[in-house]
């Protein structure tokens, strides 16, 4: 039995990387358009970020510094696992600091710290098709994109307003990219949508199981769908982060006991830690330190 134990730099063979880079280039050339690519089986399961991992593997070089987050945190199990994967197969430097990273692979969040030119944000995408839950057939949705037929999406948002008084979509909130394609920002909370607009960083989206790659080049117009009388708005939290006191950031609700006591803390762990290091304190930071 002969099992090859050594893998190519960043796991994928060079032909596969070339195929994926071509798809990425096409995606950048047509912002928001979903480019089919022949996604490979990866050594982690579909649904664990195989699309993002393939994109990262295709663009990463020995000099890159990689950060991986899941739910905004560097220390969630799957983020740890993917970071360890690239540390092993590409021997690249990894970091938890947003500012130091050249490539940031993410699931469900965009870092709070503003990304800058030269950085690339790689999103893990489960269902790339924003119209999928309105029309399950790929043959139909591709036609709808081709004809720019997005009425169905507006009807859905309108029905939300008619039923609930406001749009009830809170994550994976659809956006229109450069005035043309309606795009799924992956299941990030809509709180993060404005960060995609005119971002200095390149944003790449990889959906492994669904075999699609799409992109938002730097300085691209990204508009969350809304109505004149019901403008798009992001989530607001009543309190600042209990640990670092940050306001206007996305917070996680942490249950403290079985009597309904809870605290709200930063979802972006790096941002929270940097603020603490800079001396910022929240109302429960003393308690946290005491534990």
């Amino acid at each position: 039995m002969n099992i090859q134990a050594d893998y190519n730099f960043a796991y994928l063979d060079e032909q596969t990387k070339r195929m994926i880079r071509r798809a990425i280039l096409k995606a950048i050339a047509i912002p928001g358009y979903q480019v089919p690519f022949s996604s490979r089986e990866m050594p982690m399961p579909y649904g664990w970020g195989t699309g993002g991992v393939q994109v990262t593997a295709s663009i990463i070089g020995p000099d890159d510094v990689l950060k991986v987050i899941d739910q905004g945190a560097d220390d969630t199990t799957n983020a740890v696992s993917i970071r360890a994967f690239f540390a092993k197969v590409a021997r690249v430097q990894t970091t938890t600091h947003t500012g130091e990273a050249t490539i940031i692979q993410t699931r469900h969040r965009i870092p709070e710290e503003q990304l800058r030119e030269g950085q690339t944000l790689v999103y893990q995408v489960p269902i790339p098709e924003p119209l999928r839950f309105l029309e399950p057939r790929e043959t139909e949705t591709r036609k709808m994109h081709a004809l720019e037929e997005y009425g169905l999406m507006h009807v859905k948002l309108y029905e939300d307003i008619a039923t609930h008084g406001h749009i009830a979509t809170t994550y994976a909130y659809p956006v229109k990219v450069e005035g043309r394609y309606v795009m799924d920002p992956s299941p990030t909370p809509k709180f993060d949508n404005p960060k995609m607009h005119m971002s200095e960083a390149l944003q790449l989206f990889g959906a492994g199981r669904e075999k699609r790659i799409y992109a938002i080049p730097p300085f691209t117009d990204v508009v969350s769908l809304d109505f004149d009388d019901h403008p798009f708005e992001v989530q607001k939290f009543d309190k600042p982060c209990a640990i670092c006191g940050a306001e206007a950031v996305y917070l996680d609700e942490v249950i403290l006991d079985d009597r309904g006591k809870r605290m709200f803390v930063c979802s972006d762990t790096d941002n929270c830690e940097s603020r603490q290091a800079a001396g910022h304190r929240g109302e429960l930071s003393g308690m946290e330190a005491a534990q």
């Binding site: 039995m1 099992i3 090859q4 893998y7 063979d13 089919p36 690519f37 022949s38 996604s39 490979r40 089986e41 990866m42 050594p43 399961p45 579909y46 649904g47 664990w48 195989t50 899941d70 739910q71 905004g72 220390d75 969630t76 199990t77 799957n78 983020a79 740890v80 696992s81 360890a84 699931r107 469900h108 969040r109 489960p126 790929e138 043959t139 609930h164 009830a168 809170t170 994550y171 994976a172 299941p187 990030t188 909370p189 809509k190 709180f191 199981r209 075999k211 699609r212 989530q235 640990i243 996305y250 917070l251 996680d252 609700e253 942490v254 403290l256 605290m263 803390v265 979802s267 534990q291």
Partner: protein, 370 residues
């Protein structure tokens, strides 16, 4: 507590250690060898090779061992390895007429050239637990005879002689270049060669249930098993430098030719149509299910009404792959608390608005009553 989400790395390492321990089980029990798995769990090996799309008994046995007998996990292990292999080219079509047959049955003829041969089948066993297998029982030597040399005519040819059944058809790419679902992204509608590839690596359970649904009236196609044959076939590739083909090895396959009724149309006289199944190894159930699904999926091509799930190509093909399916279903156990927080927020807001509306209504009723 908040701190509990930290330490993911240690948790993962410890989980892997515990997994290795549980996989090995009681150390007083001898470890399974790959040859034991290959020889004595050979149908599991076959299934893993078929759905893993890689004909390698050793690696399939290894993946079964590593997966603790979880077949879908084993398929995934094999696939993840397969995808790292370079593709040298494609073989010539295997000639199943030249198969070294171990089992061959036809339900449409009492007897036929080449004969009926039961082979190693469960079909007529009585499903009574056999206490002798508890220990290392001595198995008797099987009856064997010299295989018939050469060609064993396929049932489809017997019918084709009378023009009663459709021909083999052409692959959808014009030139004789087969599609490759592992190298090109899925696009619908698919050509039949790509569809057959997808079915051949599709989940046995999923295809079995869909095939069953066609028998129960959801796209009934009046099927007959024209023939099932199991045995080894030569795989040959063409070497451009030589100008002729050379065998590169033999693989065991199961082939099922389903014969289905077709009323005919304005262009075609009534004739039988075919559903086709071909899988690695001895996987009769899978080959039969595949051929029923193949036939059902030809509805569009044959101008039949598409009324049932088994006829719906996008539905069947997009959901037949168990590595994809298990990944996406199981990914729900990954953390989703950021999205859940967003949903919590909106549900709280909607409950607040609901309560305010109700209060306002009861206020109005009260005022009206006064």
């Amino acid at each position: 507590m908040y701190v509990a989400v930290k330490g993911g790395e240690t948790a993962i390492n410890n989980a892997h250690k515990l997994l290795a321990d549980r996989r090995r089980g009681d150390r007083d029990v001898a470890a399974l060898t790959l040859s034991q798995i290959k020889e004595q769990l050979s149908l599991a090996v076959d299934r893993v090779m078929a759905e893993g799309s890689l004909y390698d008994r050793d690696l399939a046995a290894l993946s079964i061992k590593q997966a603790r007998g979880d077949i879908i996990e084993a398929v995934f292990l094999l696939r993840a390895y397969r995808t790292t292999l370079p593709r040298f080219g494609y073989s010539l079509p295997v000639d199943t007429g030249e198969m070294k047959i171990e089992r061959r049955i036809s339900a449409t003829y009492k007897d036929l050239p080449g004969g009926q041969m039961l082979g190693p089948t469960f079909d007529y066993t009585h499903r009574l637990l056999d206490p002798e297998l508890v220990e290392d029982e001595a198995a008797g030597e099987p009856e064997t005879r010299e295989p018939d040399a050469g060609h064993t005519q396929r049932v489809s040819y017997i019918l084709a002689n009378e023009g009663l059944i459709e021909g083999d058809g052409k692959n959808g790419h014009g030139a004789e270049v087969p599609g490759d679902i592992t190298r090109t992204p899925t696009e619908f509608p698919m050509n039949r060669d790509e569809r057959l590839q997808s079915l051949s690596r599709g989940d046995e359970g999923f295809l079995l249930s869909l095939a069953y649904s066609t028998q129960r009236g959801y796209a009934r196609s009046h099927p007959f098993v024209g023939e099932i044959r199991i045995g080894e076939v030569d795989v040959e590739i063409e070497v451009p430098e030589l100008g002729f083909s050379v065998p590169v090895g033999r693989v065991q396959v199961t082939e099922c030719q389903m014969v289905n009724q077709f009323q005919g149309s304005a262009k075609v006289p009534p004739q039988f149509t075919r559903g086709y199944g071909l899988v690695f190894g001895q996987l009769e159930r899978k080959a039969m299910a595949m051929s029923l699904c193949d036939r059902a999926l030809r509805a569009r091509e044959l101008g039949e009404d598409i009324v049932a799930p088994a006829q719906d190509e996008e539905f069947v093909i997009a959901h037949a792959d168990n590595v994809q399916a298990t990944g996406f279903v199981e990914h729900l156990k990954l953390p989703h608390y950021v999205d859940f927080q967003a949903e919590l927020g909106i549900v709280r807001q909607m409950r607040r608005e609901y309560a305010e509306r109700n209060d306002a209504v009861s206020e109005m009723i009260k005022e009206a009553a006064e």
